[in-house]
Symmetry: C2
Subunit: 673 residues, 2 copies
Amino acid sequence: MDIATLREAHPDHWMRAAAIRTLTLDAVAAANSGHSGMPMGMADVATVLFSKHLKFDAAAPLWADRDRFILSAGHGSMLIYSLLYLTGYEQVTLEQIKNFRQWGARTAGHPENTHLDGVEVTTGPLGQGISNSVGFAIAEEHLRARFGKKLQDHHTYVIAGDGCLMEGVSQEAIALAGRQKLGKLVVFWDHNSITIDGAVDISDRTDQPMRFKAAGWHVQEIDGHDPVAIDEAIEAAKKSSKPSMIACKTHIAIGSPAQDTSKGHGAITAADAIASTKDAYGWTSPAFEIPADIKSWWEEVGAKGRKERVEWEARLEEQSAQRQAEFARTFAGEAPKKLSSVIRALKKQVSEGQPKVATRKSSEMVLEVVNPVLPETIGGSADLTGSNNTLTADLGTFDIENRKGRYVYYGIREHGMAAAMNGMALHGGVRPYGGTFFCFTDYARPAMRLSALMEQPVVYVMTHDSIGLGEDGPTHQPVEHLAICRATPNTLTFRPCDTVETAEAWEIALTQSGTPSVMALSRQNLPTLRTEHKTKNLVSMGAYVLAEAEGKRQAILIATGSEVEIAMKARDILQADGIGTRVVSMPSMELFAEQDDAYRRRILPPGPVRVAVEAGVRAGGWDRWLLGERGREAKQAFVGMSGFGASAPASELYEQFGITAENVAAQAKALIG
Amino acid sequence: MDIATLREAHPDHWMRAAAIRTLTLDAVAAANSGHSGMPMGMADVATVLFSKHLKFDAAAPLWADRDRFILSAGHGSMLIYSLLYLTGYEQVTLEQIKNFRQWGARTAGHPENTHLDGVEVTTGPLGQGISNSVGFAIAEEHLRARFGKKLQDHHTYVIAGDGCLMEGVSQEAIALAGRQKLGKLVVFWDHNSITIDGAVDISDRTDQPMRFKAAGWHVQEIDGHDPVAIDEAIEAAKKSSKPSMIACKTHIAIGSPAQDTSKGHGAITAADAIASTKDAYGWTSPAFEIPADIKSWWEEVGAKGRKERVEWEARLEEQSAQRQAEFARTFAGEAPKKLSSVIRALKKQVSEGQPKVATRKSSEMVLEVVNPVLPETIGGSADLTGSNNTLTADLGTFDIENRKGRYVYYGIREHGMAAAMNGMALHGGVRPYGGTFFCFTDYARPAMRLSALMEQPVVYVMTHDSIGLGEDGPTHQPVEHLAICRATPNTLTFRPCDTVETAEAWEIALTQSGTPSVMALSRQNLPTLRTEHKTKNLVSMGAYVLAEAEGKRQAILIATGSEVEIAMKARDILQADGIGTRVVSMPSMELFAEQDDAYRRRILPPGPVRVAVEAGVRAGGWDRWLLGERGREAKQAFVGMSGFGASAPASELYEQFGITAENVAAQAKALIG
């Protein structure tokens, strides 16, 4: 259909959708940057979705049972900003639209969840939004089972582009969604046949409908500019028990001189192009102005969910006080009071019993006491359940027939798992953790970065955290991954040395509200080193004195995780030689860096030589603690890895790479001279 | 079919395949670790492939026109070690088999290309091998077009498991292979319905044949234990003009008590289980012993390609001397002599002309002169060609109808691109480079790490390398990515400050034989700072004095990339105040770290205060150069990022985050006191 036909067929719809298109044109022109074509192409779908289907109330953007709308094709951010402005979200004023992409504006270049209610997810890195949506849908299914349909019963809608579908993570996501029959998930594919480099055809000829069908999806193909077809397709999608994909054939940058071209994907800023486009739309208002009748129609759309929201609130109030409080607590992401007591009890028990276990096993011991008192946890693993020790007895398997289950078998999909966990955390009401080998942080990286940027307290259970993994060799042995996690802003990296520290690390992770945590856990058994029970959470200081020097303090050994045992043994050697040696356990560099100077100085005073030991690369942050913080270049050494690992039994590797108590002691002695 | 029927139907085949199975059992038992089930399940496919189809000569493992065999399911490493041992590869002695997974053995836990000829690719991280294979097939198609069928005409065979197919990168790979109609690529899917966590069904119900068909593949489904069916399927696959997927229904750990269970996926080590399995096979030889008739049959298999290889060598010798030399040079990965002269000429030209361009544009200027003299380069981009500046005029597009083309439109597939580039580099005869935004290093990470581990000189063209990207905001602004690249072993990270440094960095990258390079390039324009032409490649020193202090040297400013301009302006401010200030440009920390102490001391002498400036996090390696190398804690400062960026014009962001000449100068002054 050409524009004239479209306008004629549905004149009211046309002008309402044109409001999105013209706001996009105006905002992108004002910013002189951005992406015009996608919001223009998908305005019809968005108009029908928001006006006829999406359950929301612009006055209550955080209503727990709203439908979620995720713009996976985040570069088309003006689509969502236009919708939020038109429907009357308080935060999105016309001023914000005019300040699109400017410093301090809520209307960032790509939508950021931390900037705006109504933006459910930070998108832009392609493939993430559609993969987050699987987590949203899992959370909704689970919470519906937990709290009942009266409190939780909504859809998750996604707009995804060709970029999202080409990214591999989308395959992980759609396969998981298909396997789990997430019937309340609806994905619109903006099938505009254009990418930045030109026609999609130059890089892709995938039969996307067939691909989605192969993953178990309900698939429809429609004209993405036909409001009737869009409406009918959404109706059908809602009826299907499978996740739905609606392939919407659209014209990118419709009506502009750049229509159906890769130029239209980017910023249309030329005044004459904008003028001719508005002409084609029959749009006569000045820039940024929406005719009153159109604006008020949109505001009604923004208010139409009010009744339903009020009814929902009434239903919530009908629940028992306890249930209301529990619903509020879980959606607020607050840990229950019992958490600290079960952690404390476990710490006491293990500091007395002193088990010699791998910290991955320690983590399981923690989860065994935590999961029963935190019903909001949803665990899982990327097909390494028995290795990551992420499954506890009480969880049950989340499955089509058991939505109450709290354990997700993610399959061999580290990236999809991480993205789904982000979606769950963003949805609210659940607290996800998931496991894989620490080395496969690499696979999950794009989503892990977004956990940090989106301020979501996802917990990554990363086991087999060094050459201690042994025979599987360098492809599976992280050496630079502590450096990667520690260099990432707003991320807590924990490498506990025993069960007590593991419990403390979990306590911190589970009480975060805006920061993800990475648990780097050993494959190999480690002794309990925290043998004296202390109520205080010492890991919260980041580093502390695990063993004080006897006699004159000549050396400080600093270590993390599995190497704290080595440091303690090195201390024995040094003390036997009369060298007073302090051992500092440093389970979290980030938290130690946050302590005040006085505390840091108490732990790392000037004077003694310093030797750090960690089975990773020195670039993992060690220069600061060895050379800085009152350290001296001539009086410090690092014992760790300087390259990739190798395939052999773990004990052999530690010997071969010189990460031994003997070497640590020798280094300290050499520095003392 | 049960084992008895299989044995009876093809008794000779059965025993030959059993040799693989029993070697696997014996080696895994000796190592007390490893994965028995996969080699046992796929032994029939491997036996038919190697004996009837694979073009190879065990005596010449590096023959340039051999068929490539890639074990994407790398945990089944004993499959390939058994095959190499049985067919008589010199490096794989029985001793090596007995030392499986031990220190110093070539037979590492997962196959490592650096350990063994015959192992084309290091595999283990799932999804990589199948994605590498696309690069192998592209290289073969291109080299066939370039050198003719007489010299290059071979297949690429892959064994992939469920894990490989679940990993998202496999979707990127199969879609790219389908788009490019890589007809000489054949993938065997080990369809054993088992993963570590249990039945595949618990995490995946994808219709894999339909999924591959949707990507444009030729698909067959067979019984993976039936040698006749296997043979016929390979014949049909070879005839198809599309890439082929053969779904091989197999029994993991066939014949063992752990058959068809996830236990069978891991190490079968119990003596009685091994004994009963061998019984079921009708295998009576002692551990590690292969009956002479079976071993000699396998050795004939290993020698059957000899004739073809000798004929190929004769064909090579028929070529002109120049062509032979060129073939040898490109497969040896040697840069042509002309490279240094075109780089030198460009350096001279730009140091005189002093263009003010973004370093991504500088990179294009380099490629414009390099690509014509390096016919082995194959460029590409993950759908950001115009932004990455990776396409030069002479390349032509690699496509179904133009295999001579040297530019690949990878689509929005950073990970698939990186993995394909690894495959190309491993294949030999081509030198791949590919572009995306530096922030999307995250997506390519698993493959980038493998470039380093596999010692492949892939070049990653990473543009938009900081907040200088501007309005697209923090999802697209790298801050920790320099840290990530620099922390990765065997990786050269370059951040050049102008066109001259960019040319020098490229020269280094293109002459590497065993190290990948990352080019971190600016979006924004930068002045030419190297205005005095020098023949010497200064980037090769890693860091050097760009501007010396006038008067008493009181401050050293250290910077990289786009911030060198800021350091130079700060120097102007400081010199105007009479503070002698040196500016050190540090385009490669890795190369600087490799210099001897005397050189490093010359560049970073003790005494002056030091201020580093880089629009990334300090964890990117700065502590060493500020606190270490004769630095002093009280006399150093870092100007850069401490968290994520934001969406706004680049100049505004630099102001807001304080990465300015004024701030750098102020910091230096404060330190001088």
